[in-house]
Point group: C2
Chain length 107, copies 2
DNA sequence: TGATTACTTAAGTAGGTGCTTAACTATCCG
DNA sequence: CGGATAGTTAAGCACCTACTTAAGTAATCA
């Protein structure tokens, strides 16, 4: 997933597909490269599950699988949660330290 | 950013740093590769802005820059928003179509 | 001071990535 | 049918990536 989105061209394709399904040629038109190159990018995107496609006649129509964006989102969220937990523990620790210091002083 | 997170080893390092700052050796310890290899991954992560580090004496301490995760999150969110807008437009279109059909029938 | 620790730098290498062009297949249209 | 259209397949190539080992440097410590 991250690998698939690591390439600017592939992100552009995903951005395009965000506005609705498109054929291979439609996706390739604005891109400054040959059609086979675009097809290769689409293969990477399909392998990652971010894009699905089906061929009707001689036309292949591609669409974005928005659900798959959850995979990235979930990983990010998990990092954030871990970070928050750490800050909480740190807060507790500092609070306890301060309490102990006060206690010590009072003695 | 996406490129930095595209590598499993680098994601593991980020996961580790999520639980708090760590030295280069601490990060390298659980990883099945040489120390220079880990340092190279850290350089990629620092270049992306996801990790910051400072050297005190001979020890380099690395920490996660959680704020930088926003960059990825924002991109994902933007894709979702575009998608939602598309579905709304599609809904409106279908509603209008149905209304027009009814109108036509009534005539 | 001399050994140990904690990295750093450099050079080399196998395999991967993002393209290209050329040739091909399969459909659709007049 | 025959030609245009839409995409596929294959081979090749420059560059990049993720490692490696070997040889540094710069603290810290017995």
């Amino acid at each position: 997933m991250f690998h698939a989105l690591a390439d600017p061209t592939r992100r552009r394709i995903v951005e395009q597909l965000g506005t609705g399904p498109a054929t291979v040629s439609q996706l390739a038109a604005p891109l400054p490269m040959s059609l086979p190159a675009v097809v290769q990018h689409l293969q990477v995107l399909e392998a990652s599950g971010l894009v699905e496609s089906q061929k009707t006649g001689r036309v292949r129509t591609c669409r974005l699988v928005v659900k798959r964006l959850d995979t990235v989102q979930d990983w990010i969220d998990e990092r954030r949660r871990t970070w928050e937990r750490r800050l909480d523990r740190l807060g507790d620790f500092l609070a306890t330290e301060t309490a102990n210091e006060t206690e010590t002083k009072e003695k």
